[in-house]
Subunit: 845 residues, 2 copies
């Protein structure tokens, strides 16, 4: 059980292409020792890998850039010696890896490598070539950072002193809480965690036991240790995921209660009772032209009862609750982030942004084989791009994005057409079993098709966003990451949510009416909703999307595919398992790590969670169980990600970060949009408003009795357009004169038959009034929560204040001491320490 | 012309009751010298005033607190010697003055004063008693801060180095802009402003000439100089006022264009043409019971045409414009504030909050004569208040606020009743001239009454808010100020806006219909709007409120009343003008300043501007000229305030501040509320939506022809309730069977006569849909503006970054030097500068 570790906190990895060692599999070297140099003494801290290949004429020109890039990383490390402990901006490692491979295409040119290695040595690092490597085409360069280099870096750390003094009662309460929740905390003794850097192997082992295991799913995460091992950026991700999961617990509980309330009250729901009551002998108009016939409302009984589970007054309360929950979550995370910033010493840290245009340009040109462009650019020494240079890329990006969002909509429309046509075909079939299972078949297959398309398109869009961002050649690594994230977010979000949005807001609204239906592509009638609204179908869609996406993407993509890839790699190497094992035995730690998958950044993980957050907040009014599903998924997700990071991928380079960056803005935006989406779901998709309006405006006795009748308009069957009347008008056993349909329209015998009725407009006005009131009240409440909870926890702000005072005092003492020293040197009189000649004073006094 | 000045920037006034000298009137002492100590050399920097009175038994106990308070201020000054250059928290000077008077009630006890003075001397300050004072009962203590004390403070200032390097083109453009706008800049040479501290008299003179004068109204303000003379807090106020005024220019121009567009299109407005057309012989129902008779719609021609000036499609555009304008203004101010923070060296500055409970408790108890409470508290040594102690005050505060807001509403309702009853009385009168002038008389008097009540209540509410805040005994000075501001804001805002809100959203909406009117207090019918909506009346009300409030409050309150007060003071002193003049001649500078009014803080100035900002943004849809009015007022306001600060009040103690504090939040809140208020004004108060709906849903030819007829419902005169039919039914010369009224109701001959019609609901739905769309679109656009404009100007952020690097380098060099010095002292080998034994390393590595 070997994990190699360095005092990584303040040493920035020397190059993005270096590979810190990671995996947990046992090794021949002693567990205390880890891989060392040949002398068996000096520990290997980093390993630089490079391809050994033949030189290529074009690439020779560009390798300057590769060296330049690595050297710049080193400079940045060196600059920390001068007090700026900033990390290199995180870049997508895949790019880095590719670039690296590119950079070293002619590394066999010894003279260049020697120069590069000299630079490394100049920084105090010790190097060793791995001569006995067994992987053809790959060279390894081991790097050891001696103790004095580490200490040099540590010296520039802010010294943090224990100034905290908690009052007795608070202390005792805290102690009690800690004791009560002891089983929830991972078994990481604080002092052990503190000294962990001296025992890196242990820290990896603890992470494996106390974090990356499903058996500890109920425990807090050892965030401090994660951050020590993986760096602040990954630490923040897991901290955020932890906070999110924790916050989901109350939401899941309340959601479950709301659902149970629906279950409990389903028998008291008057409208569904009326629908199910056989005495209300209501004949409905046919659901499709010709093939379908009239039907009894009673047959919709099951759907109506099921709808009540999700469409009841409690969901209104729940969506208000969830809007406030989202505000609380954002605030809670802000505070947690602030606390972590303080504990991790990041309060003064500022990310440094470095112009990256040249490197990226190089990469883009070689990626698209635009050698001639590159040569031109280098001849003109033009590595700063102007607006005119960038415009085509921006235009391409914008149009591709628009087209892609259009494609998403087209896909949704395609699925709609599929549903319509299959439904019509099945209705027409003479097979009675097929006809009875029509609904289930159509809904089931359509949802599955949607899901499959979503998952496939997700991958396509991910690649597309990368490609578009590369084309734009963003100025800095940070802006590269942000642009990529925004693009991916827009595409994936549109992909995941357009079927849901269609179901929630468009389905059943552009249907027309009996005798005047809306037809698409020839003779297909637009889909109608089931009698009790589309909420039920929206629910099913959400359920399938959430479960399916999470199951497939988690299990198949995150676990299955890497395993398959590994298997294929092994197969390729033309060795049987015994040979393979033998070969493995001979490999060194870093050679084994080389076979692990690369770390592809945190964006996919965040993206998955953001989409989930969207599902949880945006349509919570239609699916109160969403938080519960999300909670269950996340409990697994944390440990899954942990396992992946600890054992499945090469150990990522520790990167510093103060916050979760653009993800926070996306979350904030989502929680704002959620308010308005929920307002619309409640007022337009659910039956909440029509019920209220009926009860207070139209009901003769103030009860819900008669509501079903009120929502149904009358249709005179003689008004059917020619060729659309049902083929079997006597299907129900009696002749139908008047059939009913769900809409608010004038009666056939009024002056303006089939016009939208006064009730329609009254209910529409009420729906919109509800949207206005709901949106503003909930926004006000969210702002109030925002204002109520301070961004910085009280104890942290006090602590920061105290430390500032302490720092100033320390500084003043040092100054005093320095002055005395200087005075005693120059033998001046120390009696006038503060008087100065007037000419020395600064000009503003 | 004498202005006394100190290098005040880094010296905190020694006590809140000290009086920096201010006024501009000529003095006997030489203009270069200023008042000095008896030796004629040392300049008087501060003067401490105190009352000489007989001791009182109770107050003896409390004077400890007074001394404690002043000493604490001194400590704070002293603490700056240790690098914390924070100002004393700003407190309302009136409180301070009162407190001070209290504190010194037994100042004749020499032993205490001596102790206090000793403390002052210990800090390096030099004191002199003013023995020859001529004002009975008042003692002066002159304070001189010697050069080395000033320098000691200056030493802890951050050193700012010129690292800025602007590229050539930008430099040239800037130069050109500067030259082009040269006449707009005040004549303050930069270097002169820099060295101004050595010539304080000049700086005051320049302020008087180049700032506090109406003749320079078109120029920028010399903000740097204002800040040097008055401190950052006042500097920020004027900077903010400047930015606001500047931003009002485009708003005023666009507003004027919108108004002119209304003027230009008034002849093409079909609805008002139809109203004015004598051929449309429409008979309207009577406007009041019995006394009024039927009337011709043609008589409303003038109002209809006037309404068009403010109620046209351009106002919709203008309210969107103003919402974005508000967002731009906030962003612009944030940037400006950031820039000022940088220029004024406030980036690292943090306000210190000091617990103030004890002092305030003392003050409150003596204010309300609660001596026994105080004695109990002091016996129990209980100066920290618990929640239970505070609860009664909070409850009192809350209930008083609610009652006062209730009173405001009651006043509005009272004015409504006044209007209704006067109108009825005038209608009943037989005097024909009275009857023709009914409308103008009623509107005019009501608006004036409203205005007078608003102005009176404003003063009452100001005092009330103070009183309530005192009762709460806030913990720190800052929280005192914030609580006071919030209370004052709520009360004054409710006061200023409730009549406007009534006019905009309630008037004419609860009227009922002919035959079923709503009556209040017996037999008064609720007010109706004029035919073309209430927008016109809202306009008049806004106009009168803005103009009246500004004229009266500016001219009467800010200029008139102080003058009158001064006059009264002079009258009281029982001297004729010659004697007075002679007496004045004998007075010293600080004795004259003592007769000036006290500085009462910036809150009233800010409050006035915030209310104005509310008028400009909240109801801009109904009054596009509001920004123009505000602009004109502010141009005067700036110079008026300047004059007041320079000549009328005692020079305020310089206070540091990083931002405008809670005012920013209030502005932000207002600009958010403005979006929704404007949405409602456009959709509900104006005729914009009904016109659109008519044009696209009901118009036979797609034009506006027939709109007026469409908005009028029919009433059968036989349906009048008994005793409400007009006394003179033949007033128009013919018998009326059917009269018309403005509402969307069913016809008398329908199945449901006088019910709200389908058109009503359709239009209501459209109005609400507009609100939803408008609010969300404008909010999205505002957020976009917010996101588009970075909070920190690019050049400033670059500069800050560069300085940080420079600072680090400087620090490192110093460290290096220190080490070398230390090494050479201890005669150690300097060859191993960085290696340390392992045991010395911090525990986290």
């Amino acid at each position: 059980m070997i994990c190699q570790h360095v005092c990584i906190k303040y040493i920035i990895p020397l190059s993005l292409s270096s590979q810190p060692l990671n995996s947990l599999k046992s090794d021949e070297a002693g567990p205390k020792q880890g891989p060392t140099f040949q002398d068996g003494q000096r520990r290997v801290d980093y390993v630089l890998t490079y391809h050994i290949q033949k030189p290529q004429s074009f690439r020779r020109k560009t390798s300057h850039f590769g060296d330049y890039r690595i050297l710049r990383s080193l400079r940045r490390s060196l600059s920390m010696m001068r007090g700026r402990d900033t990390p290199p901006p995180k870049e997508d490692p895949e790019v880095a890896a590719h670039k690296h491979r590119l950079d070293y295409h002619e590394d066999d040119k010894r003279f260049r490598q020697t120069e590069f290695e000299d630079n490394l040595r100049e920084m105090g690092l010790e190097l060793e070539k791995d001569e006995g490597n067994k992987i053809p085409g790959i060279g390894f360069l081991k790097i050891h950072a001696p103790w004095n280099v580490l200490c040099r870096e540590a010296e520039f750390m802010k010294l943090k002193m224990p100034t905290k003094k908690v009052c007795d009662v608070v202390e005792r309460i805290n102690l009690f809480i800690r004791k009560a929740t002891a089983p929830l905390h991972p078994k990481v003794e604080p002092n052990r965690a503190q000294n962990m850097l001296f025992y890196p192997l242990l820290s990896c082992q603890i992470l494996y036991d106390e974090w990356a295991s499903y058996s500890v799913f109920y425990k807090y995460q050892p965030i401090g240790l994660i951050r020590k091992y993986f760096g602040e950026k990954i630490g923040l991700y897991f901290a955020w995921l932890g906070v999110y999961t924790q916050m989901l617990i109350p939401a899941a509980i309340v959601g479950a209660i709301v659902f149970l309330y629906g279950c409990a009250t389903v028998d008291n729901d008057i409208p569904s009772m009326e629908i199910c009551d056989p005495r209300n002998n209501i004949t409905m108009c046919p659901l499709c032209d010709r093939a379908c016939s009239y039907w009894k409302l009673k047959t919709a009984c099951g759907t109506a009862r099921a709808s009540h589970l999700f469409d009841n007054p409690a969901t209104v309360f729940f969506s208000i609750f969830m809007a406030l929950w989202a505000a609380m979550f954002m605030e809670h995370w802000k505070r947690r982030q602030m606390r972590l910033n303080y504990i991790w010493d990041l309060t003064g840290f500022e990310e440094e942004e470095i112009d990256n245009t040249a490197c990226l340009l190089l990469y883009v040109c070689s990626y698209f084989s635009l050698d001639y462009v590159l040569i031109t650019l280098f001849q003109e020494k033009k590595v700063k791009l102007t607006c005119t240079d960038r415009a085509p890329a921006y235009m391409t990006g914008l149009f591709t994005m628009l087209i892609m969002v259009g494609v998403t909509f087209a896909v949704v429309f395609g699925v709609i057409l599929y549903r319509i046509s299959i439904k019509a075909a099945l209705h027409m079939s003479s097979n009675p079993t097929a006809r009875t299972n029509i609904r289930a078949t159509v809904k089931g297959t359509a949802a599955v098709i949607n899901l499959v398309i979503i998952i496939i398109m997700d991958e396509v869009y991910g690649a597309l966003a990368r490609w578009l961002t590369l084309l734009e050649v963003p100025k800095t690594d940070k802006s590269f990451e942000e642009r990529l994230i925004i693009k991916t977010f827009v595409l994936k979000f549109a992909n995941a949510f357009s079927p849901i949005v269609y179901l929630a807001f468009f389905r059943g609204r552009m249907v027309g009416r009996p005798g005047d239906y809306v037809y698409v592509i020839g003779s297909y009638r637009m889909e109608e909703c089931a009698h009790a609204g589309c909420l039920m179908e929206l629910c099913i869609q959400l359920c399938i999307t959430m479960l399916g996406k999470q199951l497939i993407q988690n299990n198949l993509f995150e676990i299955g595919i890497p395993k398959i890839k590994k298997l294929i790699r092994r197969r390729k190497s033309d060795m049987d398992s015994q040979q393979q094992e033998d070969y493995n035995m001979t490999l060194q730690r870093h050679e084994k790590d080389h076979f692990l998958g690369p770390f592809v950044g945190l964006s996919p993980e965040y993206m998955e969670m953001i989409i989930q957050f969207g599902m949880v907040t945006l349509f919570v009014a239609s699916f109160p169980l969403a938080p519960l599903f999300a909670l269950l998924n996340n409990i697994i997700e944390i440990r899954l990600d942990a396992k992946k990071f600890v054992t499945e991928v090469r150990r990522p380079i520790a990167a510093r970060a103060k916050d979760i960056g653009i993800w926070y803005n996306l979350l904030r935006g989502l929680s704002k949009v959620a308010v308005i989406v929920n307002a619309f779901v409640i007022s337009f998709t659910s039956d909440f408003i029509p019920r209220l309006v009926y009860q207070y405006m139209y009901s003769p006795d103030g009860s819900m009795h008669g509501f079903v009748n009120h929502t149904l308009s009358y249709f005179n069957v003689s008004d059917f357009q020619p060729g659309t009347a049902p083929l079997q008008p006597m299907h129900l056993g009696y002749e139908v004169q008047i059939c009913r349909y769900k809409d608010y329209r004038e009666t056939p015998w009024s002056n303006t038959p089939y016009d939208l009725s006064k009730e329609f407009w009254a209910i529409l006005a009420c729906r919109l009034a509800f949207v206005v009131v709901f949106q503003n009240v909930v926004m006000l409440m969210s702002d109030f929560v925002d204002w109520l909870i301070p961004d910085i926890p009280k104890d942290i702000s006090l602590q920061i204040h105290k430390e500032k005072i302490l720092m100033v005092e320390l500084f003043m003492k040092e100054e005093e001491g320095k002055k005395l020293l200087r005075d005693s040197h120059s033998n001046q009189s120390p009696l006038q320490p503060r008087s100065r000649p007037a000419s020395h004073t600064p000009s503003n006094c």
